[in-house]
Each structure stands twice: as C-alpha cells, then as structure tokens.
C-alpha cells in the first residue's frame, strides 16, 4: 500500500466514523438504563428493547412498516416500470404530453397533495386502512422518469429481436427489459422503500387507529412517555430508533451493489 493510499484510507475511516457516530451513539444509548443516562453513569440493560416491543407495541409498528413500505415498493415499481416501458418504447397520441405531466408531478411538493388525498380517501372510506396508507404512494413520477431514461438506453433491436422470436409487448418487458434494467429497478426500489419507511406526515394524517401505526408514528409518540416530569426517556427512544433503522440498514447492505450500479449507470459505456 502506498503512503498516499494509507492516508486516504485513514481519512475515509475517520469520515465514515463521523457519519456513523450518531447511529452508533444512539445504539450505545439504547442499552443504558434511564437512571444511569441522567446520572452520567453506564448500566447495561436490554430493558428498553423489551419495553419498546412489549409495552409500546413496536413489534406491531415494525410489521405495519414492513407491510406498507414493502407493498408500496412492489406496486410502485410495477406501475412505474410499465409506465416507463410505454413512455420509452411506444408512440401514441398525447404520449409526450402525458410524459410531461408525469415529470411535472416532480415539481409538486408532497404536502400540497396531502389534503386532496385525505379528502379523497375519506370519501371512499379508506382512512384507517392499509390501502389508505399504500394507495397514494403507488404512482411515483420520479421512478417512471428514471426508469424510462434507463430503458431508452437499452437498444430497441433487443425488443425487435424478441418480437421476431414471437414475444408480446408484456413478454418483451418481462423477459428482456426487466432483467437488463434490474440495477435501475433495484436502485429505484430501495429509494422508494427508504422514503416510504421514513414517511411520517401521511401515516399521521391517514391513520388514527393504533394498530395501523407505522414505526415513525410510534417513535414520535415515545417523546411523550416520560419517566419523570419533563424528562424524556432517551434510552427508550434510542432503542425504538434502533428498531426503526436496523431493517433499512440491513436492506441497504443487501442491495448496495445494485444501488451503486444503478446510480452510476450510463457514466461509463
């Protein structure tokens, strides 16, 4: 190893630790008793996790988050991939206008659609349901745009070869385009999953029933659980935070290679 690369590695390690330090500190805190935390001592305990899961229902919230983020990711990817394929490959009247409309949705802040979405779901009786949490997130303009750009980079001759081989358009999409676009689809899936996992405002508005709370709502409620007056039980909050971030972190490690390939796609031919 050259001296230059040793310095670079050390710098990268320091930077990595700096970035990780809040997460590491919160994990460290989550194993402390609340009394020890406020008296500046260290006393190891699993009690915060037991409390979060047993008393504060975090196992249920975790399940809800997995169901909501998982289904949103799956459905949004399906819808976006179909839309992207149509925009990339088919010419139809109004196609460009429709695509411009999809891109224009990227300019609309999500909070603007909060009230219309709420009123719509209230009208059809979908508040306080999984469907109410999932449906507003399944059309994702950014995913459709991102995947369309990727698919446009795949030679049309491959589609044509598949048509000559006897494929229908859906077969072309499923057997030719999707396997080739897998890095981009993985990357997009992770982005959607993370953003849905961290979503706070919409679940807060759409759900009042505790059995449908997601992790973010449950986490916010913990700030109100005080062991004494005006004192927040930080070790409990940190244990709940760890339960919240761990699945995403593990998921990221699992698909990280695909993600990096997806983001850098087209950089080098």
């Amino acid at each position: 190893m050259k001296p230059d690369s040793r310095i670079l590695t050390a710098l990268a390690l320091i930077a990595g630790l700096l970035f990780l330090s809040p997460a590491l500190y919160s994990i460290f805190m989550s194993f402390q008793t609340v009394d020890a935390y406020y008296t500046g001592k260290f006393e190891f305990t699993f009690e915060n996790y037991a409390l979060a899961i047993g008393q504060y229902n975090f196992a249920r919230y975790l399940l809800n988050s997995i169901i909501v983020a998982g289904l949103v990711t799956l459905i949004a990817l399906t819808v976006s991939t179909l839309a992207a394929f149509a925009f990339a490959r088919f010419r139809f009247p109004g196609g460009n206008l429709l695509f411009a409309a999809v891109v224009a949705t990227l300019m609309i802040p999500s909070h603007i659609s909060l009230i219309p979405n709420y009123l719509t779901l209230a009208k059809v009786g979908l508040l306080d349901t999984y469907a109410g949490l999932i449906l507003p997130a399944i059309s994702n303009g950014f995913a459709a745009f991102f995947l369309r750009q990727y698919i446009r980079g795949i030679p049309v001759a491959l589609d044509e070869a598949a048509y000559m081989d006897g494929a229908t358009p859906l077969k072309v999409l499923w057997r030719v385009i999707v396997p080739i676009a897998r890095p981009a689809i993985f990357a997009m899936g992770l982005f959607i999953f993370i953003s849905e996992w961290n979503s706070y405002i919409w679940p807060l508005v759409a759900v009042g029933e505790e059995e449908l709370y997601t992790l973010q709502i449950g986490l916010a409620r913990l700030y109100r659980v005080n062991p004494g007056e005006d004192v927040i039980n930080w070790p409990l909050v940190m244990a709940a935070s760890t339960i919240t971030i761990l699945p995403v972190l593990l998921g990221f490690v699992f698909v990280e290679r695909h993600l990096v390939r997806g983001i850098t796609m087209g950089a080098v031919k």
């Binding site: 030679p155 000559m164 081989d165 080739i180």
Partner: protein, 342 residues
Amino acid sequence: MSGIQLQDIRKSYTGGPQVLRGVSMDIRAGEFIVIVGPSGCGKSTLLRLIAGLEKCNEGDIRIGGRRVNDVAPQDRDIAMIFQNYALYPHMNVRENIAFGLELRGMAKAERHARAEEVARTLKLDAFLDRKPGALSGGQRQRVAMGRAMARNSSIFLMDEPLSNLDNALRVAMRSEIKELHRQLGATIIYVTHDQSEALSLADRIAVMKDGNLLQFDTPGTIYDRPANRFVAGFLGMHPTNFLPIETLPFWQGKAGLTVGMRPEHMTVHTAAPEAPAIPARIVFSEMTGANLMLHCESDVGRLLVTAPRQEMVGAQETVWIGYDASQAVFFDAGSENRVEHG
C-alpha cells in the same frame, strides 16, 4: 419455403422525406437476394417492412401468396439477424438460441436439445453456457444466426450481419452463410452496403438509391450490363472509369455518350502499341495482391487501371493504356441510363 412479392411499396415518416418510392420485387422461394445501396437508400427500411417491424404507407407485401401488411412480425414465419446481433445480454448462448422456441411453447428439454443441435452446426457447442459479453464478435454473429436457424423459418432477413467483423472473419462468415443457404434452402434477403458481399453471395442483387430500386438482376448481368451509371459505379471491386466517348481514341466520331470502362478491362503497355491507346503517366500505384491498381493522369482525364504486378516490374512512368472496346458500357450523357451501342 415461401416466396415474397413486394408491390409498389412506399414509406415515409411523419415530417420526413419519402424513404421508399414505389419498390416492387418478386422474390422466388429459396432465392438468396442481396439488397445493396449507399447509406440512407432505404434498404434497411425495406427489410424492416418485410419483417413487420414497420408498416408501409402504400403497397402490398405478400409472403407465400398471403398479404401480410397487417400481420404481426411473429406470425410471418420470418427470422431476422440484426446488424448489432441483438443478443439478449442476460441469457447464455443456449437460452438465446432457445428463446424463440420457448415463446412458441416448446418443452424445455426439447428446445435445449434443438439449441444444442444448432450450436453444433455453427461450432458453438463449447460456448453454450457463456453469455454474449464473453464471446468474440464472430461467435456473437454465429449465435445470432443460430437463434434464427433454431426456429426453422422459411425466410431469413439479414441486416448487414457482417459489418461489425474484421475483414478476414467477414470473408470466412460469407462462405458460411452461403453454405448455410445451401443446406437450409430458405429464402434469404440480405442487406449490405458492401458490393463485394453482394456479388459473392447473391442469386440476384437489388440495387437501391434514394428509395428507388434501380436494378434487380443476377450479379453477372448487373456487373456486365448495369442499368445506369450509378449501378456501374457502385458494383465492382474497383471504381469504373467514366469518360466522354468523344475524348477516347477507341470510338472515332461518336458523341453524346459516357463510356464506362472497368479498370480490369484496360491494359497497360510500356511502349506505344499498334492498336489505339491513351498515353498516360502513372501518378502512384496500390498493391491489391497479384495486381497493381495504377492511378494515371492522361489527356482524357484520370484513369484507374489494373495491371499484373509482374508485368510492371521496371516499368517507366509513361505508359500507354489500351482497352478491350467490346467490354465497354455506354450511358446517355444526360439521363445516365445505359444505352446499347453497336
């Protein structure tokens, strides 16, 4: 086996020029047809229309007597080989070859057996588990051919299939394609801009320019009796010399015609011969193997002449160029169409 009839095919794109301007051809079953022409002449568009990948604005396309204008590509019993091979990058050679069979509902064991049989024919059996990215250009080209062969189609369309290969491989693959045609007996329509490929492969050649079919005939006829000056210039190893007839010593007292003289029909003399000849000066020469291609300056203009290399050893700069006048082709100086001239 199926023949193909094209009748007055016209194609234009919205807001673009007309790409095909009324092309008609009658292709017999089992024929090897080469469509040749410069870039942008409409040859690939014509192939795509036959394949069904695009629709024509006017005209009829018939395959085996059936009008197929509105028939989907997969229902035309056509296999196509693309210029860039269009191999599925995520599938290995076996899967690439068998994909069309899978889509037609053939059982896995059966289609894999068929893929392996085709791979053996094309000497690809050692690469069945490799993906296209791990193959050389020639091997990829073979896989593309294998994919087309596996389906036992009666018509093969080939869109410049050899243009991405180096020269040696191109010549070798040319022979293989010819052999394949002999074995399969299928109708092949082959598009190229390479006139040597056209001459060596075709039963009949269709020469196109600017969306028009200029001539559709056997290689021999097109070479010896080109329909017009463009065809004469396009087909042939070396560029044809075009000169006004009145400037040449071989036809005294004639005018209004352009004479097309192929370099291989001209002879080089180091001393003035008794027969009429054009005095010229060799500017430079290129070796083309057994022959030299001489670039000469003369009073009638620049001339290209081929001469056996041995005969030119020690030749001086000044030479006399003779010509076998019976080989000449005459074109009307105005319309540039070929005219008979006794």
